[in-house]
Each structure stands twice: as C-alpha cells, then as structure tokens.
C-alpha cells in the first residue's frame, strides 16, 4: 500500500519523519512539493518514494538504501552525500548534483548544472543531458556518465573518479586528461547505462560513442623528490618536538 503525503497539507518535517520511521518495503507518494527544500532527506530503509513535482535544495540528501524518484526538476545539492540506493529525477538539476556522494546511483533525466559530482567519493552519476562547468571538480572515486555535453573545466583537480562523456567537452580542468577506453571501462559504462535505462536519453547510446576522462596524476601525487622533502620535514618536526620535551 502506498502512503500519500500532500505537502500543501502536511509539513516537510512530518514527511521526513515518516520516511525515517518507515520499514523496508514501504512505498510513499509525495505531491505538491512546490520547490520545498530537503524533501526525502536522510532515508535509511529500503523504501520507494515518488515525488510528483519539482523540489528545492538538497532533495534526498544523505540518502542510504531505498529509491527516490522525482517527477520534475531539482535545485542545488540533489542527493548530496548519498551513501547507497538510488535517486532519480526526470527533469533538470541545478548546481552540485550528487556532490560528495559516497555510493549509490544518481540519475538526472535532463541536464545538470554547474559542479555536478563535485568531490564525489564513490557515487555513480548518470546524466541524460549536459553538465555545467567544473563538473567532477576534485572527484575522488566513482563514475560520472554524461550523455550530452560537458561545459568548461571538466574534472578539474580530479583524483581517481572516471568520467564518460558522449558529446563535446568545452574544456578539461587542471590535471584532467582523455584516457583510453579499455574493455573494463566499456563494461562499467554499459552497466551504468543499463542501470539508468529508464531515462529516454540514456536508453540507446552506444558505449562506443563515449570518451573517457580521468586524472593525469600530476597534481596530487607527490614526486619522489617531494616525498623525500615531506619525510625530511616530518623527521625534523619530530626531532624538534623531542628537543622541546627534553628542554
């Protein structure tokens, strides 16, 4: 049985409390979100939530297990810090979709704005359309799949996340380079496209049409000389501390 929450009638707090108290297997339907912030935040159970309309900031933030479907658009911070489970919006997302996500899957049916996947730490993000500038900024782990184009400075200061783009990349950020698509990457990409295949824009692209981008590993990896310098500094610091204690 599906439980109904009309946000024109009940508060966001009542809705979120009910979602936090829910048991595995329950289903929820939310109407009249009207751009409300923090809808369906902090879910930890294997539940299904359908939101009919557009939501505000931080929808499905800190999401863990369970599935959230938004039939509409989402504003800043969609599924921020998602740990597992699935968050899917049919429309567009504004800034920082999937930011800092540690796991799970975020699917954006339309376009995502600036800094999509900023500082992502293991989440998979599939965008049916385009992503804005500085997407995957300082991304550490996980996969960002873009079926459209990517705006300027894609993957700036990226660590070990992988980016797959089907369309044009306006420019790559510092230390982000195009990399060879090996069979293992085609496999990863195919799996993610299949997982998001309910999105029309995602259902169809051939993995062979995508290019892969990732870190050149020049920016964050210390060179051997630097490692020596770091080790020397640490040694000197501990010697100083010892001298201080002795004094």
């Amino acid at each position: 049985m599906k439980r109904l929450f009309d946000l024109a009638q009940v508060s966001r707090r009542e809705l979120n409390q009910a979602l936090h108290d829910a048991s595995d297997g329950e289903s929820f339907e939310v109407t009249n979100p009207r751009g409300t912030h923090a809808v369906a935040c902090g879910i930890t159970a294997e539940i299904d939530v359908v939101v009919r309309g557009s939501v505000g900031y931080y929808c499905a933030g800190m999401h863990q297990r369970g599935r959230v479907l938004v039939e509409g658009n989402a504003s800043t911070g969609l599924a921020e810090n998602i740990m597992s489970g699935r968050v899917h919006i049919t429309g567009n997302a504004t800034m920082s979709a999937g930011a800092t996500g540690c796991g799970g899957l975020v699917v954006v049916g339309g376009n995502a704005g600036a800094r999509c996947g900023i500082s992502m730490k293991g989440v998979d993000i599939v965008v049916g359309g385009n992503v804005g500038h500085m997407s995957a900024f300082m991304a550490q782990a996980g996969n960002l799949v873009v079926c459209g184009d990517a705006a300027a400075d894609l993957g700036d200061s990226i660590y070990e996340a992988q980016i797959f783009v089907r369309g044009d990349v306006e420019s790559l950020g510092a230390d982000c380079i195009e990399k060879e698509m090996r069979p293992t990457h085609v496999e990863t990409l195919s799996r993610l496209l299949a997982a998001a295949a309910t999105v029309p824009a995602v259902n169809g692209p051939d993995p062979a049409d995508f290019r892969r981008y990732g870190s050149a590993r020049r920016l964050y990896n210390f060179t051997i000389d630097d490692v020596d310098a770091v080790a020397r500094a640490a040694r000197e610091r501990s010697e100083q501390e010892r001298d201080t204690r002795a004094a």
Partner: protein, 299 residues
C-alpha cells in the same frame, strides 16, 4: 545571503496582476533575507512624464515646497504624492536634473529611482510587511524586480536595501558581493554618475546606467560588466523596455529561470516560481555563468 526575484510579463495576460504575483514570489524569499526588502515595478501608465521616487528615512520632509522648488528648477509642472515615507514626483521636466537637485538640496532624502516607467520602494523590516505597506500587490505593469536582504557585510539600513537605480529606468537587484566597487565608484563619479550609498550593488547599477547613457544596449552594457565588475553576482536587471539576467563566470550564487508563453520569471530559488500561474508547465533552467539573457517588450 539574499533573495532576488524578477517577473517579466511578455503578454498582456498577467500585467493586471504583476504586483500580486511579485508579492507571492517575494514572500517565498523571506527567509533568504528577513531584515529588509524592496521592489521596483515598471508600467507605461504615464509614458510622457518622468516619475522620481524619493525616500526620506528618519526625517519628515514637507514634499510640497520640494515640488515647488523643482518646478522653478525644471521650468515645468511638478506634482507629488506621498506614500508613507516615500514620495513620487511626476513631471514633464528633466528627471536626471531633478534627481541631482534633490540629492544636493533635500536633507535626509534619497532618490531611489527616476524614469518614465519605474517606481521603487524599499524599507527595513519583514519583506511581507514592506510589500503590504507600499501596496505591492496592487501594482500593474510589465515587469518587476524585488529583493530580500540578509545583511552580511554592512548594517541593516534602508539605504543598503535593493533594488538600486541611478539612471533613467535602469534598475538592478543583486545577490553576491563585488570586490572592485570602490575603484569603480570613483571612475563612474568621474564620468557623471552620482552615488548615495557605500553599497557595492549601487555601483553595479551606476555602471549599467553609465553604459546605457553612453549609448549601449542592455546587452552591450552587460558585456562590459563581465569585463569590468569583479566579484560574485547574480543580477536581475530592469530597463524601460526589457529584462535581463547575468551571473558571474563562477556562478556560485543561485539562480533559476522559468519561461512560459506569457512570462519569464527568475529567482534565487524555484519555490518563488512554483506558485506562479502555469509554473508546472513552464520551461525551467539554471542560467549559465557569464551568459547574458535578455527579454524585450519590443520583440
């Protein structure tokens, strides 16, 4: 943090309720800026006359003698009506000269706007109460801008409230902060602009006024702004016959735009747009950084 909203009626359909819809949008942005608010609206009610909106904060000004003195200066009839602590002068004479004369001669008065279309009101206090006191809901017209302010770097004063307008029918609301406004203010003062506050956003308004007064279109003025303004900004801008949006190249201040056949609305957050008629079917998107968006009544 601040909240900004703008509504531009492309067709006649909602012009009779421009103020009511703007008030609905402003209300949703209350908690982004609960300490002060302001709004500007544009209408073609008196196209051949210039209106000058003036605020007297904390002092009582007898507006009748001011109007009489302006008549002498301008050599034209001047009428005035008081709206609480604001006054709206109306004349066939030179609005720019009237603005400067009031700034120079009326103690405690701040000229908020002048032009053939614009009226502008602002005050400290709850945005809903500000809208109510100056009867935003009853205003009709083609487009409106409004702002809710949460002061972070200067005092909560009416003069720090938005919108800002220094030139004819050119008005701006701003979310962000500019870092080169002092140098730019000095430059503009050397080029004929006069300022009444220390506020960075007033300098941005003055910059656009200067460019437009020098013959630029709003698009050309905003192209210049991308080069000459340093800092963070999401702007909504009104001119006599149009509406524009600009975000800085980093675009960390929020903005969302929705458009239907009848209107264009922009806001800091979607919830301000969600309650507009037809919002559910509007095209909604995030304006791109450093990209100039304009809509014109002439188009």
């Amino acid at each position: 943090m601040c909240g900004i909203v703008g509504l531009f009626c492309k067709t006649e359909t909602h012009r009779h309720e421009l103020g009511r819809l703007t008030a609905v949008m402003l209300r949703e942005m209350r908690d982004r800026g609960p300490d002060s608010a302001g709004f500007a609206s544009y209408d073609a009610g008196m196209p051949d006359r210039t209106r000058i909106t003036v605020l007297a904060e904390g002092v009582t000004v007898d507006w009748g003698p001011v109007a009489a003195a302006l008549e002498g200066l301008l050599g034209a009839e001047v009428t005035v009506r008081a709206v609480h602590d604001h006054a709206v002068f109306s004349t066939d004479g030179d609005g720019r000269a009237a603005r400067q004369w009031i700034i120079d001669n009326v103690a405690g008065a701040t000229v908020l706007s002048y032009g053939s279309q614009i009226e502008l009101y602002k005050a400290v206090g709850d945005p809903d109460l500000v809208a109510e006191r100056y009867d935003l809901a009853s205003r009709t017209g083609t487009h409106a801008l409004a702002h809710t302010r949460m002061a972070t770097e200067s005092a909560v004063t009416t003069n720090g409230s938005h919108p800002f307008a220094t030139g004819a029918d050119t008005c701006l609301v701003h979310n962000g902060s500019l870092s080169n406004h002092n140098r730019l203010r000095r430059f503009l003062e050397g080029h004929g602009e006069s300022f009444q506050t220390e506020n960075d956003s007033e300098v941005a308004a003055g910059y656009l006024s200067w460019r437009i007064r020098s013959g630029d279109t709003i698009s050309q003025a905003l192209e210049g702004a991308l080069d000459d303004l340093d800092g963070f900004y999401t702007f909504a801008i009104g001119v006599a016959d149009g509406f524009a949006i600009l975000r800085d190249p980093i675009a960390c201040k929020p903005a969302v735009v929705a458009e239907t056949d009848d209107w264009v609305a922009m806001s800091s957050e979607y919830r301000a747009i969600a309650r507009l008629p037809g919002a559910a079917d509007a095209e909604v998107w995030e304006p791109e950084p450093a990209r100039i968006y304009t809509w014109s009544l002439a188009a």
